[in-house]
Symmetry: C5
Subunit: 288 residues, 5 copies
């Protein structure tokens, strides 16, 4: 059993392998053009799979890399399309344990390892969404909006990767080619279950994120409502005083009580009573 | 017929049972890693099911626990993955009535019991949603928002459990393995119907909850609108008085009626008439 | 042909019938537990159907009742789970015309009659939605919101009944048991078409109701916008007068024109011109 | 080949035809009850189709009419359920060209003609939606809302007609009865394609309409935001003047610069500078 | 092998070809009526495909053109329905490389080329959506709304083209007619994958665009909220000064401290303290 690791898809080594194992030109082309979707294709004498490894970069964005695998009866060829850390680590781990393994067992290990890279990413998103929810309810800012948007974008991307990977796992489980021995079936089914469960989680996270955007809008609307009420209450307190003081500020004669020695007390009293009355009315209609 | 109850998945007893009944290593691993999705898998000589029991905790959050069941021709193994109260109560009840039962009958009883734990949870959510609806229409607060969100989150989770459990029940109903006797079929179909009906209910509740968020937003918008109207009416009442008293407060000569002995009455009259006229105009355009 | 009418599911008569016709205990249990979903199940020698009759109560809420029917080769058993008026009327009508009918013909008549109870309910909802739409566009109030919500809730419930009933009708149409003669098939298909069309209508009504909630929100936002404009225009009219009269109200010397005999006229003119200029600017930017 | 045109479903002629061609009583009933959904049913020796012709009335609302067709080996019966103009015109056109045609050819012509009545309706809706979009972005009014709602309602209705008609066309295409000759198949497929494409268009229009409601809401929110800014700017300009003139309007001694001969100039300067400073701050935070 | 290029569907050459190769009149009609959906139809001895080429016009709108292809055993007929640049370029490229090719190889090249025209369009939309997202978060204007709407419209259109093209590719992949040799299957599958991936991208873009509309609404609501806070803070600063100066502006005797020589200082102090106290209260409740 031979395992050929190609670290750079541009490497002419890939062409030599293509010739030796009669790999289809379209598959070699797929290896050399990045950003393929995850997929699996059966060909004469071998099986070609594009897998996607996923990492969260330092700034929270999603980084995808392609890992192409050719599985033949007695060979495995892996092509790394970028030097992503987690793909490298995964291949090293499988390599270390590969002595004496069959080609399909190595293939399963790689697929399983790729699917395992999704879990920490999902956990990271769970944390981010929890944080965003707290922010949204507690103190919504435009920055929260922008982060919700970024996270949504990453989830949309991740979902696409997972849907395709699930289809790959489903296909592998049902495949009738003899490259994969029957005893691997429960394991491949396990991979399928893992991806399906991850996809479930992504759907839940999308649901929660959409919900948090609705909550954002409701929360902002609610705060605006409260600010309006403050303004109304302030207005209610000030208006009687302003109107009454305005009236007594007029250069007119004959204003009521104007000549009374208790004028100030009376007028202040009127101001006070009117304000209280207005506040009482607002209170009655439950406006604060 | 042997029923082995394993109360702790880490118990080495589980390994002994695995050896004795030739249980697949992946299934033992599933027992030991919590938070599995509900599922059923047929294996050589036995059937492995992961069931989820559900409880509502004191603070209204959802608590899930795994209950793993192995069904063989003449044995049942149950593995409780956590010491949840309702799972324990359920197993005790089934145990008390298990004398003389076949393995598949015990299996049915356990499945039926697990499904029965969903109903009180659904009832609790119905109550919560009713409360939330009343709050939303009557007196929406940010706290309402936060509770809507929490409930939504729990329903998303519960829905996932139910979808998986329905698939389990559907699979059991259609299974062609001979571990389950034909006379159990109507009962398994009954379980399926129960779960499907519960799922229907959860969908209805999600629908109502989404609706109540829309209502929240509409309700807040409506209240803001009313607060604005109050502000406008207050402004309408105060402005003529303020403007007119401002004018008569100017240190200028020659203001109309300023020297008249009826100045105060005239000016007050003008203020009053202008205010009424403004209010009448607003009324005409139906702004309050 | 015997038609046994059981008016109360708790009646021991039901147990006697169960024994005589060998009815499955799960079906008897279904009769005694209310709030079943509509369903049909084939059993040994008979067919068991749960049908739902629907009425709109005086306060506009939906009232559901179960009507259970057992159809055998030469017997029909109906179990009314509540004393709902329309179920009673329906059974009386069918009874009056039942002489000489086969069991499956009676069964069809009952099913057809149950489906016929949905139409007046749908008509009632159509009226309510028309009313709500008018209210929403014309004069949205919190009460409108609350009615939209109630109606949505009823439609969600009704939809669930209809979906289940459609499945019942679909099953009856495709059933291969010999309890239903071939000549009843076009009639059962007709029942299916009726329910499917009713379901279409409910979907349309849900669509319209969701739309009317969106319209509500838009309508309130629009009104708030207009109230704001009124406030802005009022402010625009009052501000110049307030500012200028404030300035001339200062106890300072040397205010321009203050000593002129035409001071009042000049100052009023300035107020007037400034106000008009501000209004013209707002007009220019199309704010009212 | 006989073509019987029945212009009024109540016409006893229909009963005579029913007897002569052994039409099923349920079909005759369908002809006499209006507002059927489009459907096709195969019966002994004939095929019964309900087709829907569509017109846009003068006030923009959708007008549906039923056209029932019975297709036998050597007869066609058409029943017009209302005197709609376009149904009449269509039948006249087909009649004029019907000499020498087979029954199934006439049937195809009628079906094709009915489907052709949908295109002008769709074009009319396209125009309406274009108009509404312009209004929504340019000058949203409550009347726009009301028209969006009406159009949505019509599209919901039209979609239902098209979905049913597509099912009819699909059924005709797959039918294995020998009433329709094989050489008509490409033509029936063409009808199916037409309806499917129309349905696509309706879905697109519904999408755009839903979008235009969202835009409406966003547009109104944006305008409210701008009105608020105007109010804020107005307030910013007026407040310093009001506060300062209020202070100098107090009947107190010892106000700074009050006795200076340049008092007015100084105070005006302070007012001006404060106003400019406030506006500069707002500008800094990009509030206008 | 003959390749007939018809540059104008009205060209009588098309009729001559139709006669020679016995093309179905409905297909010729399809060529002559523009704005067909992409489709493929198998006919006696040939295969008819309508393909859609896509370009983005200078003003950002989508321009579609039909390219009709007839594939026979030894002929290819292409009909360009408009003089779109990219369709022309594509045919020239294929022609240049066509020497010695089989008809189905030319057909594949054309189909592949048409699908390749979608990628630059998708890239263009990606850019537009990125821009719109930035605008929406940073500085939402009505113009942004209008561009979101335009882009949505184009995506709705593009999605329809892609869905139909995917169906065409799917059909070609599964077709069992012998016009396409087996060695072309992997290539046709590749075309299918391309279109499916493009469709995925369009769905993602639609998702993001819908999201950006929600963000727009939230963003505007948030800005309105902030403007309201500014207004409230301005009001809070000004009101105490206005009320107190109003009171001391009244022509009344006996106002407290009015005769004190420190009156101005005291009153200013009161104004200042009240303003600070109000601002502190607002701060306490976290309103700014």
């Amino acid at each position: 059993m031979d395992w050929h690791q190609v670290h750079d898809p541009q490497d002419p080594e890939l062409d030599r392998l293509a010739e030796r194992y009669r790999l289809h030109p379209l598959h070699i082309e797929d290896c050399r053009h990045r950003s393929q979707s995850a997929k699996v294709e059966e060909s004469l004498g071998y099986l070609f799979a594009v897998l996607k490894t996923v990492e969260v970069a330092g700034d929270g964005s999603l980084e995808l890399a392609d890992l192409d695998v050719f599985l033949g009866r007695d060979f495995v060829i892996t092509v790394e399309e970028s030097q992503q850390h987690c793909a490298r680590a995964l291949l090293d781990t499988v390599l270390a344990a590969s002595t004496g393994m069959r080609a399909d067992q190595i293939f399963y290990r790689i697929t399983d390892g790729v699917v395992d890279t999704y879990l920490p990413v999902l956990d990271r998103f769970s944390e981010i969404i929890d944080e965003l929810e707290d922010q949204v309810l507690d103190r919504p800012t435009p920055d929260t909006l922008s982060r919700i948007f970024e996270t949504k974008r990453s989830l949309v991307l991740l979902r696409r990767v997972l849907v395709n990977t699930r289809d790959v796992a489903g296909h592998l489980q049902r495949t009738e080619c003899d490259l994969i021995h029957r005893d691997m079936w429960p394991f491949l089914r396990d991979v399928y279950d893992h991806v399906a469960r991850n996809l479930d989680l992504v759907e839940m996270q999308r649901d929660l994120l959409t919900g948090s955007l609705d909550i954002y809008l409701s929360s902002v609307a609610n705060r605006t409502n409260q600010v309006m009420k403050v303004l109304t209450v302030l207005g209610t307190i000030a208006l009687p005083a302003l109107v009454i003081s305005g009236i007594y500020g007029m250069n007119l004669k004959g204003l009521p009580w104007a000549d009374s020695p208790h004028a100030t007390a009376i007028v202040s009293g009127v101001m006070f009573v009117t304000t209280i009355a207005l506040l009482a009315i607002l209170r009655l209609f439950r406006w604060f």
